[in-house]
Symmetry: C4
Subunit: 231 residues, 4 copies
């Protein structure tokens, strides 16, 4: 069941490697079938080169394994928390890509310093706080998701499709697993360029708000004119 | 029609990927046939791996689509503005390559710190200003081109084949689409090396003007002796 | 003899190249067969592309060549010292990977700034001191091993599977040659991210100890739940 | 004639690309046949992918073309100057590799901060001065060679197989074209690691002289024990 979604989720995981975002067995991508409420996710700690669609694990929104003989990614509860919080999310990617992780470890949001950023994130990439000792000891991975949800109160999940978890790394999401990976690729580029911009000019100006708004509208929403018309 | 130019423009777009300057669907290259005044440009938001010569869009110098079923790059009006401003331009490339974009986001020109730079750009790589709110809201992409043209008053388009747009990214140009990509590759290398040079020595000296002039003459103009004689 | 181990050690050496950790003939990996006490190691200064399993050199724990017509890596005495010091070590990797080496040359330990680090190293990556003039002049490579052993007094070789040698570069180890390479890959990523984190925020906080402990337990020890159950 | 040397010089030039040291048509490598005094060098400004052994140009030590229909590299007079100055040089490589060039543009020597450096260069990588206006205007490329020769008065060409030319880029040399490329690869790694080391610790200590001497003796000279015995 969910054969197409398994293929898509497998491909999205392999794309993390192809884009240079993850070495070894790091990182994970999932996708959801909203009609059944079932999620397809990468198994934990298996080499990318060995993955087949049949290795993908199917879990429900409460985290119960529905299909699959392997353990799902240890980060699965964090994914579930985000799927439950925002019904528009169709896929989620988690990497420890270098530059985005540097910002997460530095406990700094990524300011919007240019149109590359504005094309993808409608404002700074937010930082979710460190978990408390209690949150770490009990239900750790679900609590990762909860501090992200907490951080997104008042924010729009669609126009800001990613977050940095303090001392950890980024999560990104989108309408599908592939879209979540696309945002992971873009986030790493944006983080790299913000890193270098701040070295060249610690007082680099944030992009004027009218340009931020323009670039967002150009790609997203009813008046978007970037890309081809969806048929 | 313009089959050779479509092939050349397609190849130039694929070269952006091959040289690592663009991920995803970012970036665009165009080329012009000066006899007809028609421009061939990449369609908007199509994956590089899927592009064929027939996907290239043909527009005239006023931006009217002459041939092609896909939407041209959303940056097309900026390209047109440059083609109209300088009749010697045969091709234009636009990327968000990391180091050049860091300078654009930092609102700093790239000073000429060495002969690598002097071989390609006869002086600093200029910075065009932020667009005003009015310029963004009405005819945005054409106004990108206009602020570049404004910045080049008194400059020579041939000896300085590129520019940084503040808060955005670089544009480069040349005698053909391939030549514009060559300048995009060189600009990214130059920006990377200037970035590192300024870290090692914030007071690094600009290249003496007589070396700048020598390197320019060596590659360009009537006494050039770099490369092979054109037959 | 030890044909499988030779294959494994050869593959581990080639993986150093595949992961971009070593150019030219730099770097070396060894593995030990604890039942015989024999070690398989890369020959000195041979191009990676030309290596065959039969080129691997077999030495005993005192450094005597047991099999092989080529000279073993010049760093062999350092490997032997670590195998003798900790019976749990099954493989050792030595690279001059750029970011880990920057910390070694800077005479700085790598602080634990995030969960990527905590997943692999249970605390800072330690720095072993410069060798004295006497230690360099007599039995140099064995003394490299000895200063590492000296530095690990009171530390756990399993939970901290690597070290930086001041002014030199990293050594990593693991349960096998492949595991040692895995730690070399992780260490280079960790070093890169620590480097950038300290640029963004020289006062970046160390990861809270309860998160460090959690990530270590999650991957290692009796309650580990990362990866698949070993059958 | 010199068919083997042409093959070797072609391969050495292609290795510059393979090691990521040069894009486009940048860089050049030459090799000399000391018995005839003839030098084989890359032609100027030809794409690497198109080069054949027959494209290599043969010149004598005075720069007269002996064989070949293409123009030799515009940097040929600099190569000749070095071959004339040191009869032990068998090959020369010139790149604009990023990190070495950053030091050249910064007008800083590369201090010896670790054993990676000591394995290749017995002391800091020297910096040759800017050329004067007269030296640039008349016989420019030969004068590049002359300021390098001037800088090497009192230095040993064999134990320091490379130099940075202020505001320009590195030259390296060796016993053959392949050996010169090997030093170009090592120099770029060394420069990268020195760059990062100085960011982490601007007061990073130079490698103690007794370790520098040890690493040099270990690889070079009568008591060398790195690599395999030459038969």
């Amino acid at each position: 069941m969910l054969e197409q979604l398994k293929q898509d989720v497998l491909q999205a995981n392999l794309d993390l490697v192809r884009h240079g975002l993850v070495p070894l067995t790091w990182g994970n991508v999932s996708g959801i079938d909203r009609s059944s409420g079932w999620i397809v996710i990468k198994p934990s700690g298996v080499a990318y080169g060995a993955l087949t669609p049949g290795d993908m694990v199917v879990v429900d929104l409460q985290g119960k394994t529905v299909e699959g003989s392997l353990r799902p990614s240890s980060d699965t509860p964090a994914h579930l928390c985000l799927y439950n919080a925002c019904p528009l999310i169709g896929g989620i990617a988690h990497t420890h890509s270098p530059y985005a992780t540097m910002f997460a470890q530095s406990c700094r949001e990524i300011p919007c310093l240019g149109t590359t950023h504005a094309d993808q994130f409608h404002g700074p990439v937010p930082l979710a706080r460190f978990l408390s000792e209690e949150e770490v000891q009990d239900d750790y991975e679900a609590n990762m998701g909860r501090v992200i949800v907490e951080r997104f109160r008042g924010l729009d999940w669609q126009s800001i499709p990613g977050v940095l978890l303090a001392g950890h790394a980024p999560f990104t999401w989108g309408t599908s697993a592939a879209d979540a990976v696309l945002h992971a690729v873009a986030l790493e580029r944006i983080a790299h360029m913000a890193f270098g911009t701040l070295r060249l000019n610690p007082e680099a100006p944030e992009l004027p708000r009218y340009i931020l708004a323009k670039h967002h509208r150009r790609k997203h929403g009813p008046d978007a004119y970037y890309g081809q018309k969806k048929s």
